[in-house]
């Protein structure tokens, strides 16, 4: 059965894919269709309820239009989350492939480093790092990528251990293929199912991590924002029942992360791999 056909049999995965496409259009095309000023604060029109004065989702305490802010903030959340997730996948894949392929003491050392990394909760490490360096979008991508590559490293190592004993790898060695060539040309491509499926979950986790860091006030500096920071801003207004500051960014995070998890489950069926269950 073809790739697309198998994927489309999983209804949740198709819904997830649709949500992702809509979310990406929302944060890229959205601000062009619905332009708002997200730099200058307009205190005269602060704390407006949804629907008042042409603000469909109201305004926040600095007078920013919430719908427009959702688009601009979402751009950051998605950009940082996707790139950090992909970076983590690349690092983890190479690390795991090399560890599994080389084996022996190198493997043991590399995997103990992974164990140590898993023992240090990423969110704590991120907060320490963001109190050392002032976070920008690119720094957040790098830092989140560098603290979350551990799971793919473990999964790919396990695959790499079995792939390296296959005949085609032995044959490639016998023909004089270099180690680098074997890792890049044979080991990595043969773990691609695991890698692709895990990359989806990795991006989902990275989007959550970005939100956590921003929510804890250690993310980007205003007026730049993202969905986590928007929730953090809304926190002070929980008691004024300002639900329009809390539900939109919160639901946006949940929708996108859910969608990625659904797509990941669908891809797992397509590639027929075992692994992390969301």
């Amino acid at each position: 059965m073809s790739f697309m056909k198998r994927f489309s049999q999983n209804r949740l995965a198709v819904i997830g894919l649709a949500i992702l496409v809509i979310a990406i259009l929302f944060v890229t095309i959205g601000p062009l269709v619905y332009p708002t000023d997200q730099i200058r604060t307009v205190l005269e029109s602060a704390d407006l309820k949804p629907g008042v004065e042409g603000h469909p989702l109201g305004t926040d305490s600095l007078g920013y239009d919430v719908l427009g802010r959702l688009m601009v903030g979402g751009r950051t959340s998605l950009l940082v989350g996707i790139l950090a997730g992909l970076l983590a996948t690349v690092i983890g894949t190479l690390w795991g492939a090399i560890a599994g392929y080389v084996g022996g003491i190198v493997d043991a050392v590399m995997m103990r480093i992974v164990d140590a990394g898993i023992a240090i909760p990423a969110i704590f490490l991120l907060l320490v790092l963001s109190s050392i360096v002032q976070p920008s979008e690119w720094i957040m991508i790098l830092v989140i990528g560098f603290v979350s590559w551990l799971v793919p490293a473990r999964l790919v190592r396990a695959e790499s251990l079995s792939v390296k004993t296959r005949d085609y790898v032995v044959a490639a060695r016998a023909m004089g293929g270099s180690h680098t060539r074997i890792v890049v040309q044979h080991i990595v491509p043969n773990t691609i199912g695991t890698v692709v499926v895990n990359a989806t979950f990795q991006v989902a986790d990275a989007i959550l991590l970005v939100a956590y860091v921003s929510f804890l006030g250690m993310g980007l500096q205003p007026p730049a924002t993202d969905w986590g920071a928007m929730l953090s801003d809304g926190l002070g207004l929980v008691y004024q029942n300002a639900w329009w500051l809390i539900l939109p960014p919160g639901i946006a995070i949940v929708l996108v992360v859910c969608a990625l998890n659904f797509v990941g489950d669908g891809l797992r069926d397509v590639f027929d791999v075992k692994g992390k269950t969301a």
């Binding site: 949740l12 995997m111 103990r112 480093i113 164990d115 140590a116 990394g117 898993i118 023992a119 240090i120 909760p121 990423a122 969110i123 704590f124 490490l125 907060l127 320490v128 790092l129 963001s130 109190s131 050392i132 251990l161 079995s162 004993t165 989902a204 959550l208 939100a211 956590y212 929510f215 804890l216 006030g217 250690m218 986590g228 929730l231 809304g234 926190l235 929980v238 008691y239 029942n241 639900w243 809390i246 919160g250 995070i253 949940v254 992360v257 859910c258 998890n261 659904f262 489950d265 269950t277 969301a278």
Partner: protein
């Protein structure tokens, strides 16, 4: 490695036999020592990482302790007294020595040692996460078994989907929703956690613990019910279940006496690996509900760049995680001897 045709995981003794070595006299002891050795190595790597972070601090530790007003001479003198002008490896040995003596340094702001600050706050965090964990297990175990029994039926799909949604919800958003619903609109539960100094004082206000504990428990229910479901599914197709059924044992009894015990083992092993998730959750929950545990300590330290406290917390949490996974593996090996050889 792939030459063992048996589908069962090979024991250490079998592996040794295949490799042509003399079988170990006590494979279980060998497994334990090997696993403990691994944990010690991991803790060593963690200390190196924390030490490296310490080296990255802006202006070094002297600037942090003495403040921005300090002169170059004062800093040089401080560095000399503290040994910061020695070679890096010597500094690491000093750092390790202080660590073994339980000395994590002095907080920049709290006017107390980091060790004191952590020992004061840690029990409260353990209480909060412990309560969340117990509640999560009490809910997730029956739910997971129920899903496995009704697999691929409507109820199973619905519960699995709910679990993914719960898993995808950041706990701070979940906590804010609970506050909005139960404190703000219904007005039945307070949104402020107990502020008491001691555990007894905290427990004296149980109604203030409900929302924080729930916020911690819901994502864990999502995780554990998924593990429980897949573990119970694996076991349901085993022969011993069929045997028990064919003897005429009532299905409920098969579930509670046979299935439950056997499918819990892998879930126990997962508990150890959930520790980072739980500590991460505590960080947000304590900040959200203003609960004075280690998460809040860490958060305020991050706000004020109190690096000794930050790194002390990272160290304590990481070591707790390593020890937790070690204990989980050992418990699993006691419950299910088949897993004794299977750890890479």
């Amino acid at each position: 490695m792939s030459s063992i045709p048996d589908s069962l995981p090979a024991t250490v003794a079998q592996q040794a036999a295949v490799a042509g070595k003399r079988p170990r006299r006590n494979p279980y002891l060998f497994f334990l020592l090997r696993r403990i050795g691994q944990a010690l190595i991991v803790i060593f790597v963690v200390t190196v990482v924390v030490f490296a972070l310490l080296q990255m601090l802006p202006g070094g530790p002297a600037r942090g302790v003495l403040g921005v007003q300090a002169t170059a001479e004062q800093i040089a003198q401080f560095n000399h007294e503290q040994g910061y002008d020695r070679p890096v490896w010597e500094q690491y040995i000093l750092f390790l020595g202080r660590l073994l003596a339980g000395d994590l340094g002095q907080s920049y702001l709290l006017n107390m040692s980091v060790t004191d600050a952590i020992t004061q706050r840690l029990p409260k965090t353990l209480l909060l996460t412990g309560l969340s964990l117990v509640i999560a297990l009490v809910i997730a175990i029956p739910v997971g078994i129920f899903q496995a029994v009704r697999r691929n039926k409507g109820a199973d799909y619905t519960l699995s989907t709910i679990a993914i949604v719960a898993y995808s919800t950041p706990s701070f958003f979940l906590g804010m929703l609970l506050i909005m619903i139960f404190s703000q609109n219904l007005g039945i539960l307070p949104a402020n956690a107990p502020q008491g100094e001691t555990i007894a004082a905290v427990l004296a206000e149980p109604q203030r613990l409900i929302l924080p504990v729930l916020t911690g428990a819901i994502p864990l229910v999502a995780n554990f019910s998924r593990y429980m479901r897949s573990s119970a599914l694996d076991n349901l197709s085993e022969d011993y279940i069929r045997t028990a059924r064919s003897k005429g044992t009532p299905f409920r009894r098969v579930l509670s006496r046979h299935l439950l015990r056997n499918s819990l083992t892998p879930v126990v092993a997962m508990l150890g690996y959930q520790l980072p998730v739980m500590f991460g959750g505590a960080l947000v929950i304590e900040q959200l509900f203003n609960y004075p545990g280690m998460g809040l300590l860490f958060w305020s330290a991050a706000q004020s760049s109190d690096f000794p406290v930050l790194l002390g917390c990272v160290l304590v949490i990481s070591i707790a995680t390593v020890v937790g996974s070690l204990l989980a593996d050992i418990i699993q090996s006691v419950l299910d001897p088949r897993t004794r050889g299977g750890i890479a």
